[in-house]
Homo-oligomer: 329 residues x 2
DNA sequence: CTGAAAGCGCTTACAG
DNA sequence: CTGAAAGCGCTTACAG
């Protein structure tokens, strides 16, 4: 593969001139430019990014960390990130972590090692989250959670309040046997707070057997949820901390011949695309996914430009979307 | 940020020695190693990957291109890729393309520019696909399609045959008014061939009005599909080239009060997780997603190791999975 | 408008 | 077991 020296020699100019042509430096004469471009074309020369990035110490590359690609929620957030990155002529690369701290660290290392200039972590694991808020020294933004400090600014909705609102809705429908299906994402804790607060406000005692924990994977989640629904004294309402879990609840209910919403009402969280095509369609909380992404990216760019900039956390609005799974008949 | 020289000076050794410690070179004395490690720790030194990659001309990084992250099908393929990459101590980065040739080229450029050593393209756009099969000079593997040549080896199932099998199944149920819902992925063409072949074999005339085209996005797809179902002489069976489209068909049918499977049977393609939690559950074609990914990665490594290696295309098995959406009542 | 030269942060024969 | 030095492929003041 040709390098910049080969091109320079072939074109009868210095490597400095080739570099200037490559970077559209205005000082190159049209004639020289033409000749160099011709040689570049002829030799099919491709500039080596490693040399360029090393020298200029910028890769114009950002990382977006997501737990998995199965949850369509993340797709929307990422497209928000991409739109801002594009406007700044940066590329973004997607990294799936499976909520595995080791893998998160691996990508964080790529920032340390200068392969990328910064990173946005969407729904980080609690371990990674802890690390970021205590020892982080690199450009990082957390998306989907709002506890934070100077080590890593955050973009999120008010998760506790959103959960509170969803559970209030279930209570308003007349339910008092309300289950929570939790998961291992960090925000789940805040959503649980909202759930507890709503119950407390209405004097509903918390039944520990109705606080379940489910995997984000469908097959596992269905098994987890089935146990909850098969108990003698089963709940009449379920609040799940994620739509994928709520969809597993719908499926498990169908398998157990429990009618939704007649015998069981269900609320999810996230408003993923699939939630509106389910049968019944799913009540859920809608987060401003695109905006969460674009805000995160904007904050990251601020941090990259000024490592000591004071960046305010951003809390965005959310909506309760009522659909068939909690319709009153 | 400290660099290798700072560490060397502080430890009272040469940069060569620091480098050796970094790379676990066995020739370093225990005492020296200890001292260097101490300084690395103290200075929180992080080796710069750009310098390392430039010098050693390997980044140990692979790219996996997927059209979008909304389709859970890709998640499984990617995890197959990751398992093989991990075994080779390579990292993989996910890139979403929206089936946009420009974006595909952008990531291809990262390979050209040495940021990554190779690339696996899952369901490439036809433009990108053409480019790869004619002018590609870099380590690339195509996943999801099997036409190919020496420029880019491929891993796939026999898409035409799988579609043929699915449509045969619809015919066996007694249907003759069978619609095809197509999309813009490259494999769609092959799946259409299978559809046509099955009809032809059974002397069923092709009705052009029953060959529809849908976007892979839910909202758009539902609109596209609705038109098909609202015609006077509507089909009684639908074969969709992707599960996400088939799910849109289920949703549109529900909205139009058309009972599935009683008044309309539906088959999808891909066997994504959601297909089994739909109501009714979705008949579909299952591809060996994980294996498709792991084979692709293995082929890519072969190509990286030997740029002129002859690599055979791989065609894997598939299964027709019959579920409620085509049950006979 | 163009070139010679220094340097980005590493690795690796080579010599001792 | 260790170091001096060359070099990976670029960019960018500096000088002319």
């Amino acid at each position: 593969m040709a390098d910049i020296h080969t091109v320079a020699k072939e074109a009868g100019v210095s490597v400095a001139t080739v570099s200037r042509v490559l970077n559209n430096h205005p000082s190159v004469s049209l004639k020289t430019r033409r000749k160099v471009e011709e040689v570049i074309e002829k030799l099919k020369y491709e500039p080596n990014m490693l040399g360029k990035s090393l020298r200029s110490s910028q890769s114009r590359l950002l990382l977006a960390l997501i737990p998995n690609i199965s949850n369509p929620f993340y797709a929307k957030v990422v497209s928000g990130i991409e739109s801002v990155a594009k406007a700044n002529r940066y590329n973004i690369m997607l990294c799936t972590t499976d909520s595995n701290p080791e893998r998160e660290l691996l990508y964080y290392d790529m920032v340390k090692k200068k392969l990328a200039e910064g990173l946005i972590s969407i729904d980080p694991s609690s371990e990674f989250y802890e690390m970021l808020t205590t020892t982080n020294r690199y450009p990082v933004v957390i998306c989907g959670e709002h506890v934070g400090n100077d080590h890593a600014p955050c973009v999120s909705i008010d998760n506790a309040k959103a959960a509170y609102k969803a559970v209030k809705h279930l209570i308003a429908l007349g339910h008092r046997k309300i289950a929570l299906v939790n998961s291992n994402i960090y925000t789940a804790g805040l959503r649980q707070q909202g759930y507890l607060k709503a119950l407390e406000e209405h004097g509903i005692e918390v039944n520990p057997r109705w606080i379940a924990h489910a995997d984000l994977n469908f097959e596992n989640a269905q098994q987890d949820v089935r146990e909850l629904l098969m108990t003698e004294d089963r709940p009449t309402a379920v609040f799940a901390v994620s739509d994928t879990i709520a969809i597993s609840v719908l499926k498990a209910a169908k398998d157990l011949d429990i009618k939704v919403p007649e015998e069981l009402v269900v609320s999810g969280f996230d408003n993923i695309d699939f939630s509106s095509v389910m049968n019944p369609t799913l009540t859920t909380i809608s987060q401003p996914m695109f905006e969460m992404g674009s805000h995160s990216a904007a904050m990251l760019f601020k941090r990259i430009a000024d490592r000591s900039a004071a960046i305010k956390n951003v809390i965005l609005d959310h909506d309760l979307i009522i659909r068939e799974s909690t319709m009153n008949y």
